[in-house]
Symmetry: C2
């Protein structure tokens, strides 16, 4: 199925131009170009330029908030030919930046949920955020324990001590809607906002196919058996570094047993329930996840035959 | 599409029974059961019991070749209720084991290519191999550089120094057949056996959907544009720790430019070419990958409408 336009982070359209990654001189020249821009993250929070109501996540590559000489720039690629980078500045700058009138720090999830920018920009920011998390948590070589160094414009780390090369990590996660005829299986974690239900999900384990992971997770979390599995679409999810793999799953049993170590509740919902939940008009105040989520898009395929999920009140769903 | 029965490593059917992973006493009791068995890897090479022509990859959990008191057992799950583990013994035992009549060391790829065991066993061995590679290359905490320790029966590592928890890594890889009407795009790496061609493939990068990764890789490696992408099936690939995501891709351009840093050749092949290559009867001595590979299964869907790929001579394809 075609990737929906409204699926968050999934419509990055930069030319990654990976051949530049191992050409430091070319990269330096790209960074000096007048049309070059960089995204800035303070710790893991995007820094956004603000002028009145207008927000802009891009800064000049040599004059951005918190600019320092020792910051590694990640090369994200070319946006219609214009070079794009990302840089992380120390989280300690949060307070001084919060005092500045011309910038605002907006959590990445809110940036996407509020759909502040275009799809290409959301995709680029998701890429940057996932890479930065990887660098932050992989400063030391897993093989020998010595400090590793950034290489290839942020797309690799090398260990000078043992010679190991390390590559960014992306964790495949299955997220699925188990369907039994006219009803589907949704669950809620205790940390969800009240009334909010979502698709079941879990990490693909070593030695598993996507389909096997779908079956295991639905069985583990709800004790429901799954037959056929159909892949729908996928979504990069930089919280912190996942690839969400969205599927429909044929439920072949009925009696639910909730794995209470993972979920607070799992229930069958009718197609009409789900339609009302997507529209934000369910009489019991039930909701599905925010519009940009893959869960809401999977539900929309099943309940409404696809298209754009209604724009529900994002603040309700993220209030907790 | 249903996972083909002949797709290597993809038909693991153990109940992973993950709830046992954090119950050390229960696990010890499982390991003592008379029906408990363990896979043994010498370094990363499977150790197989041999009695005449009969091969068996399973050993008693307390009496296996190279058994030592300090070896961490990975709990793989239950095979029709019987507990199954995996253990790695030092690579230095290779020579003495090679002198033993009753065991044989067979490289994991050959085990699968020769289809020595059933699907459940191949799946379990792939799981074990990927986990062991992860442990071998992640003995130190990426966050602080101190030694980490095995936890949860081999499914986690914890850092006693900084408290970080680490989980097994699985790298999503797209592998795709780009199709332009009656012809399809195949490439060969220099390290392939002569005459062997395969689907293009590459790692999914942070911030990418599966579909975006397919488009980027085909563009990078062959300069061919891709429109629609259809997912077919997936395969765990423990060399060392990938999840292969198999797709058909609609080619929307014709002129190939080979990325010679990655591939020796990329060409269009007719459907009839591919049929003959799958059958092992191509007049020019051209071949597709071994039967258990996802590439051969993707090609078989396109050229023959699915089913089991012919059993070609595995030695030919792996001779180099």
């Amino acid at each position: 199925m075609k990737t929906p336009d409204t699926l968050g982070f999934a419509n990055g359209r930069y030319d990654r131009a990976a051949y530049f990654r191992d050409q430091p001189e070319e990269l330096a020249a790209l960074a000096r170009r007048p049309d070059a821009r960089t995204f800035v993250f303070c710790g893991d929070v995007p820094v956004i330029a603000r002028q009145g109501e207008a927000l802009d996540p891009l800064f000049p590559t040599r004059d951005y908030p918190g600019a320092g000489s020792d910051q590694d720039m990640i090369f994200l690629g070319l946006d219609s030919g214009a070079p794009r980078f990302a840089v992380e500045i120390p989280a300690q700058l949060t307070e001084p930046l919060n005092l500045q009138e011309d910038v605002v720090l907006i959590d990445q999830r809110s940036v996407a949920t509020q759909d502040l920018f275009d799809g290409a920009t959301h995709g680029a920011m998701a890429t940057a955020k996932a890479l930065m998390f990887w660098h932050r948590t992989h400063g030391f070589c897993g093989q020998c324990g010595k400090p590793s160094v950034v290489a290839k414009a942020g797309w690799q780390r090398n260990c000078p001590a043992c010679g190991a090369q390390h590559f960014p990590r992306t964790d495949p996660v299955v997220i699925m809607l188990a369907v039994d005829g006219e009803r589907c299986l949704l669950g809620r974690q205790g940390r969800f906002a009240p009334g909010w239900y979502s698709c079941l999900a879990g990490f693909v384990e070593p030695g598993e196919t996507i389909e096997a992971a779908v079956r295991r997770e639905v069985k583990e979390e709800a004790d429901i058996e799954v037959g056929a599995v159909d892949y729908l679409f996928s979504q990069p999810w930089p919280f912190p570094e996942s690839l969400m793999i969205g599927c429909l799953a044929e439920a072949t049993s009925e009696a639910i047993t909730v794995d209470t170590s993972e979920l607070e509740d799992v229930r069958w919902f009718s197609r009409e329930d789900v339609r009302l939940m997507i529209a934000g008009t369910h009489p019991d105040g039930l909701h599905v996840p925010v519009r940009m989520s893959i869960a809401s898009h999977i539900l929309n395929v099943w309940a409404n035959g696809g298209g754009e999920p209604a724009r529900t009140d994002w603040q309700m769903a993220t209030s907790k």
